[in-house]
Symmetry: D2
């Protein structure tokens, strides 16, 4: 079985695992208060060119999203997000579990725009409706598309004009940063939001994400982590991995792993396009959403492991194919070869 | 200033107030554990022809909606509602404040349908998305439209098929019950849902609603009322009013007050229609949403008090006019007369 | 049956009810945005000598306690209270329902002291424990005792030193203000805390409390009221009652009703003491907690309605007797006479 | 610096780490739906002799405690715990964050008893107080003491009699199971509660705990894990470790590591006792709470890393010393030697 199921089907990249192994018997203090987390935090501050932020190493993406929002919002405030956004679509209402509404908008290609923020704000009128306090986006989006630098700038300007915080979910941030169409560096990302995270789980780590919070928005955040059940006893485990991932900045393993996944995705995408296969959305990152005949999908599923993205309609099924640092060129070739056989 | 602002701009109907006055010096036990609440509850059970329900007298509509949902849902469950529904649109996220999502659907005329429920259910896939547990509708809807009996039956059948509870917000239930187009009696309402409330505040009471819960869904509900801050020390105050309102069943004050408000609304509606004024939606109850030229609205506002329902667009403003038991025929005439002057 | 059950067993004082009746047919805007609430608010500001506060009219005491705490606390913060405090003991965990802990201390006579606050703070060490943010007391306490002026000053100074807000539950504030032993005026109360409420329900109103919040702690409070399900459509109902209750300031109905209840309580207390009956605690207000032989209690219950305060122990039962504005001197006499018969 | 700070200061035991390394490049499905979690779950079911339970692999202890309680309790229900219990004392109010109260009792040696449960239940009277629904204990307790088999049986019988669920926090369960004084096997543990967890983090794992839930109490639990932000993408990471830890049942690494830590703790305890050092509580597991002169503590802190357990009093400071699988006999000797020097 060849996996295009997700970018978290394997363990850690071997270099990351080596770092875990080589530091394993060190004694450190717990809960992220250790030299590894401190060094990894310093590396991130340097990478984004901002010493004033605070960095927290978190166990997963949902904890990042929910803990930050719950920390900065007053109880009557809401979050604006695309209806396809992960915080709405794949987190089992964890955000609402902290008492806040997600105001959803239908967003083409999964991307919010200033006009969509205005539309969401129209629902807010007075004390009888929740007040939007935070805008949630992800880079790339759930549909694999990315925000260009000017789009991020415009969006952030809109948020600031309206008194909204902007949060960027970076579960696959590496994939956006190293995507051919991308023109927004990590410094642009950091500049154009109030908080974001650098996703480790989907790009080489066993687990862990690095949450970066702008100065002034971090008050008592470690209390919030613990209160939201997200504090890891052996917190250095995540610090150690980010040290390994980010060593070298924009030439680091983090960038190289994401670039490799993107390159393989591009080959697969080009191969599918060359065969006339249409796609859902305009992903340019490591997730592809080709639409295939149902019969072909059923056959492919015998050899390849992937998600059906939405139910069969008119004999067609959109599927999701994901590449990762561990994907091999031969996996791509095998898929296209089998597809050719099935399409004949 | 003539009020078409709401159906809660005056105090209680004089007959209701008389009941409060005449029982004022009685001593009773608190928290709704008194003979008046008991009698009013018995009257309701008789009216709906179901002795097995439980009846709770609540301080307001939002407490009814939120307390019931919070009581019957598990933490990971959500509520399905029209985006225009009161629980979504005018309760400041009180439902989400208890940790549950509202899954919204765009609903024509504010009315849910089995097809819209299916659409909402499509979002629910597995443990990564909240599981819908309750469907919220109101009778009439926020837009003044009503569900016909067969629509309620179909909707409830759909809910039961899908394992969903159906809840009916009856803030203006009287207006639906006495509307000319209506064919659903209160027994039909009671039969076609798992819980509903008979709204007092907007139909003659100082405050208070009667929440009716089907057998088996009432477990520890009084604990929930108190935990949600909704238990009234002098609870009999609401029981006393419902005794006065419901005495006589379908010939009671409750029905007569609502019928009067509807009649005046019909006169106003017919008058506006006769003048070629278009409406938002197809309300047949005591709320009207005429669309008037902005200049006319500005002038009317000097003499009449009402809501602008949505922002000016293309020189037009939809407004909301509400009639109530205290509205006078002369109020209607004055409005139409002034309108004629302004439209000349 | 003679009621010593509570101070909310009757409706409103006739003068308060008259105010409701005489304003009943006025049309006003809803949700407390009406001239009556405005005037009542102005009267309160004058009474406490502070124009800078904000005043909100609330449906009950629990909504006051919970809405204020939920509004000012960050999610990881807790409330310090006596284990006997109403917020802990009689609100079904409503405060915890908003996500906050109540840190309880055993408090003699139900009264917090600076030393007890220190004890509660000892539990707070770092990010692994909730940070106390608010101290809850009531005046009088659940046991009917009161804080003297210097005690309030000392407590508030302690709170300010420790970065804690101080909140005073005034469900029976009138009883404290008019108690013979009291030396703290309502201006002292207002000066020695960050928020408090003047309880109407237990001193002549049908329902309603006036919550007073110091400047700077009121941000978006109306959103919080609505989000916590506490906003009353016909909000002027509470404003009207407070106008009637507070007209005349310290000579107003509010003070006179409470004073009457206290006087009758004093007569009853003296009568019981003269008969050698011991009490739980040292109440000096309108609640008494005499400890009587179980057999006597059983007999008294046939003619008088009151709470057994705690379970029978060693043949004795502490009961609670409450006087109110509607209690008659003859009720007291009847109780003492029957007691004499039973004690023979 | 020699660490007696905690049993989570190092990474994983080398054998556990080997298992992670050797399975690292396997592709599996995510979120704990993989063969490793399945096998580890089966091993646990065999170990406890109950096929009917469900096993969930969780990221940490607080997520276990909070997710289970939030899943089984109705909103108005509370948890009973010792005031020293981890759920109260070291989880930043995470449980209250889900809306439930912790009713605390003062418990000698950190241990609940049937009598203490009765005391907690006394606070519960009716709908004005939260209803206790769950009893939380840990084995061993926060103070290192353990429940004997008959104590667990009696406690569980009491819970069942009172309609309470019993939950056992097993963060250090290995230490209890292998303690010389212990007579309760893991089958006894499983038999005497409704849910418990086998702690990995503090006994050889990088992270992870195995939560075991009795049949019928597991409904939609995976939804709850996700909703509480506790679902790990690479969930097999925890399954892999428990396979390594539990292979061999009662002769497994899990038992051997805990036994080693206990043996070293015993040596240290005996050494301290021999020197006349008193202890806080009667710990018989891998945590010791000796009380030392403040001056000695200050000197020891220069070479050894440990917690001061409570503030200095009368010149004495209680400290916490923890042994773990990675503690060396030479660490113990060094400590006692240095202590002798300081005590001279």
């Amino acid at each position: 079985m060849i996996y295009f199921r997700s970018d978290y089907s394997q363990g850690a990249h071997p270099d990351v695992l080596s770092a875990i192994v080589s530091t394993n018997l060190e004694h450190t203090d717990g809960y992220g208060l250790d030299p590894h987390c401190e060094r990894a935090g310093a590396m991130i501050k340097e990478l984004i060119g901002d010493e004033s932020v605070s960095v927290h190493f978190m166990v997963g993406g949902t904890p990042c999203n929910v803990t930050f929002a719950a920390s900065v919002l007053r109880p009557y405030q809401s979050v604006i997000a695309a209806r396809t956004g992960h915080i709405y679509f794949h987190e089992t209402g964890a955000l609402e579990g902290t008492g806040h509404r997600i105001v959803t908008v239908e967003a083409e290609n999964g991307k919010l725009t200033p006009a969509l923020i205005d539309r969401a704000l129209e629902e807010y009128q007075d004390e009888h409706t929740p007040e939007p306090g935070l805008v949630y986006i992800s880079q790339p989006t759930e549909l694999g598309t990315i925000y260009q630098k000017d789009e991020l700038e415009t969006l952030y300007a809109k948020c600031q004009e309206k008194g909204l915080l902007l949060y960027i979910d970076g579960a696959r941030l590496g994939s956006a940063l190293t995507c051919r169409q991308n023109d927004a560096s990590i410094r642009d990302i950091a500049r154009c939001c109030d908080a974001f995270y650098i996703g480790g789980t989907k790009n080489g780590a066993l687990l862990g994400e690095a949450l970066i919070i702008k100065k002034g928005l971090d008050d008592h955040f470690r209390f919030m982590i613990k209160r939201q059940c997200g504090m890891l006893a052996k917190g250095r485990l995540i610090g150690v991995q980010f040290e390994a991932l980010l060593d070298g900045g924009e030439n680091s393993l983090y960038y190289r792993l994401a670039a490799k996944a993107n390159e393989l995705a591009d080959i697969l995408r080009d191969g599918l396009s060359a065969r006339g296969i249409p796609f859902v959305g305009a992903s340019c990152t490591n997730q592809l959403f080709p639409i295939l005949p149902a019969g072909v999908v059923r056959e492919l599923e015998k050899e390849f492991f992937f998600y059906e993205w939405s139910p069969e309609k008119d004999g067609l099924i959109p599927i999701r194919l994901v590449t990762a640092w561990g994907t091999e060129r031969s996996d791509i070739d095998a898929f296209l070869t089998r597809l050719d056989e099935l399409l004949q």
